[in-house]
């Protein structure tokens, strides 16, 4: 089956990455079709925030269902399919492990089976995760690093990753995993720690909150900028040969450093306003998670434009432009 050139299907279009990717694709002349679980208009706030809510054609589709996915793919014949849909919170995955795998593995399989079954010559981007590596240690993880996931989220993402690799090897599909390390933006919901810190620092500065409670501050992460990462996703599907790529900045930063910078933006000393709450720690937490984007650089010509600590400044600037969210 021949695909419709310039047609893209984005699963999870209402999330942070989906919204930025949809905007990028629209800017480049694509017809963008989107699927989201968030059916009510409030769930489309990210698309509204980027001013593209009326330019994405939305479809209702139970994406974990192979037959529903196949019907959608047959109807649209997209040239590019991006799967960004997932229960994407690591912390939440301990409490909802079944919901987490259900949101990750069946939709990935459904896209792969739809491509295999229809013979559509589409290209498929699957959003993988740096969480698959577990603790990377000080040496940033590259594509060959063995996985050692440490959360139900990481385990589910690893399974989806291997399904994509298996279908690529077995059926020659143009299917690739982007192994994405943390990437932030003003669209991050406050349940993610970075957004929680930025909004928390602002709330403290505005005297709406006496003290910000955080879990483990010793963790080291590789934080990138979501808009840079969706650019990498698109580039991966423009490559003739499908392959998996780590998408990261390679810059390690501690959560403490993140918090210090955020509070400093408001002229505050974080140590006076942050309280460690052991109940916020995860059953297993990763000490260090850093990726090596060398392949993305050489194979895709991709470079992260926003890195730490400037990334925090951008998040704070954006937060100050927005009305204060409910904490």
């Amino acid at each position: 089956m021949r695909s419709e050139k310039g047609t893209a299907l984005v699963l999870g279009v209402a999330g942070q990455d989906g919204a930025y990717l949809a905007r990028l694709l629209l800017d480049r002349g694509y017809q963008v079709h989107g699927v989201t679980r968030a059916a009510d208009p409030a769930g489309l706030s990210n698309l509204v925030a980027l001013g593209i809510a009326d330019r994405v054609t939305m479809h209702a589709c139970e994406i974990g269902s192979t037959s529903a996915m196949r019907a959608l793919v047959e109807a649209l014949r997209p040239a590019e399919i991006y799967n960004l849909a997932a229960q994407s919170s690591v912390g939440l995955s301990f409490g909802q492990p079944a919901e987490t795998i259900d949101s990750i593995v069946p939709p990935t399989l459904a896209v792969l089976e739809a491509m295999r079954g229809t013979g559509l010559d589409a290209r498929f981007f699957a959003a993988g995760s740096g969480e698959c590596f577990g603790d990377t240690g000080a040496e940033p993880a590259e594509e060959q690093r063995p996985f050692r996931p440490a959360s139900p989220y990481g385990v589910a993402k690893a399974a989806a990753h291997w399904l994509v690799a298996t279908y690529r090897a077995a059926y020659g599909l143009h299917a690739s995993n982007g192994v994405l390390f943390s990437h932030e933006s003003p669209l991050r919901p406050p349940r993610f720690v970075t957004a929680k810190i930025v909004h928390g620092a602002r709330a403290v500065a505005e005297k709406r909150l006496p003290m910000l409670k955080l879990g483990n501050l010793d963790i080291t992460r590789d934080w990138g900028w979501a808009e840079d990462y969706v650019e990498a996703m698109w580039r991966m599907l423009q490559a003739d040969v499908p392959q998996d790529c780590v998408i990261a900045t390679g810059v390690p930063s501690t959560l403490e450093g993140f918090a210090a910078r955020a509070f400093a933006c408001f002229g505050l000393d974080w140590r006076a306003h942050v309280q460690c709450d052991p109940s916020l720690r995860r059953p297993t937490d990763i000490a260090v998670s850093v990726g090596n984007p060398a392949r993305a650089r050489s194979a895709l010509g991709w470079q992260p434009r926003v890195t730490m600590p400037a990334l925090v400044d951008r998040l704070v600037e954006a937060a100050l432009r927005a009305p204060p969210p409910a904490l």
Partner: protein
């Protein structure tokens, strides 16, 4: 205190051997099986007694790894001290055709069982064994494969099993559960499922010997595997759960043999020697004496993505568990061919997949 074990997949090859071993050791054994319309209990009929009798220690329950509610209820009712997760859609080739089902049973099913243990409040008292597989090594990253070898799965089965492996590790690390993986290389025996290549060969050799079949059709003759006897392996499985600390272990023979060797030994056992002619799909295996073609290749049996060379290093199991396989490869082949000959001649009735209800007679 009497030990109480719950075995999922008790009607399968490994589940049945394990049930027998645990009953011999004095356990109360609860076996879970799926409800299906035909009898599939041939492998455990010899262990089963009417629950109304006195002193019965083996109980069967209907359950399914795709049904959380049933799993939680049975775990709560039986309060096991050990759970062995032997249930799976365990056929690699079938997983390419039924990938969704394979993921649901093998991956999510394992998670459902681990969650059932937590929900039942048995996190600190119940030990958990997960049947992991050498297929997770797939495109092998080193040879032989050991516990530290990186995984590279090559089939929906292997991917689903890898999820089961890691979620087991995660529950051990996150909740302190005594949860362990056995990474088992191929293990066969006379009750191996009939679609698996070893059993397919032993059945065909028996049928050809009895004049009921002409040709044995196979896929990749040069696929190499590390084949042990399932009876030996369930002993290793039990030992894993008796360790003070949970851990992951490779169970393997440390030897590798090709499908071709298995064929030669199996025919050799009934007095036929095979000579090979041609290459690839056109390759033939002929009876040296009669010149009759007994073995042919059908590319339909090739896997979409083949796993070429699996060889396990059982050093850790030997050192820490004191476990070693005891059945030599030629003995395994002979036992399987003999069993299939006995079945064909009406001397044995435990062939799985057939509606037989007799006690197994070895």
């Amino acid at each position: 205190m009497t030990k109480c074990a719950l075995i999922t997949g008790v009607t399968g090859q490994d589940g049945a051997y394990l049930a027998e071993l645990l009953l011999d050791k004095g356990y109360v054994v609860h076996g879970l099986r799926r409800r299906i319309s035909t009898f599939n209990t041939a492998r455990i009929d010899h262990l089963y007694r009417d629950p109304h009798e006195e002193g019965v220690k083996f109980f069967l329950h209907h359950a399914d790894l795709t049904d959380s509610a049933g799993l939680i209820r049975i775990v709560m009712e039986t309060q096991p001290t050990e759970i062995y997760n032997m249930a799976a859609q365990s056929h690699v080739k079938v997983s390419f055709e039924n990938p969704e089902y394979t993921a649901n049973v093998d991956a999510v099913g394992t998670l459902r069982l681990l969650e059932a243990i937590r929900i039942a409040g048995l996190t600190n008292t119940c030990r958990f064994y997960q049947a992991s597989t050498s297929e997770m090594y797939g495109l092998v990253q080193e040879t032989p494969q050991r516990e530290t070898t990186p995984f590279h799965p090559r089939s929906p089965y292997a991917v689903a099993k890898l999820y089961g492996y890691w979620i087991t590790v995660n529950y051990r690390e996150a909740y302190g559960m005594h949860a362990s993986n056995g990474i088992l290389f191929n293990h066969e025996g006379p009750t191996r499922g009939e679609t698996f290549v070893t059993r397919k060969i032993s059945r065909a050799v028996a049928a050809i010997t009895e004049g009921k079949q002409d040709t044995l059709w196979l896929g990749n003759l040069d696929a190499k595997r590390d084949w042990g006897h399932a009876r030996d392996y369930v002993d290793g499985i039990w030992r894993i759960l008796q360790q003070p600390e949970p851990d992951d272990y490779v169970l393997a023979t440390g030897e590798t043999h090709s499908v071709r060797e298995f064929v030669e030994l199996a025919f050799g056992h009934v007095g036929r020697s095979i000579v090979w002619q041609g290459e690839g799909v056109a390759e033939l295996g002929m009876d040296k004496d009669s010149g009759k073609v007994l073995v042919r290749v059908d590319p339909r049996y090739y896997r979409p993505a083949e796993v070429e060379f699996l060889l396990g290093d059982p050093t850790k199991a030997q050192t820490k568990l004191g476990w070693k396989h005891t059945t030599a490869f030629p003995d395994l082949v002979r036992e399987m061919v003999d069993a299939d000959l006995a079945r064909l001649r009406g001397e044995r009735h435990d062939s799985p997949g057939h509606a037989s209800r007799s006690a197994a007679a070895d």
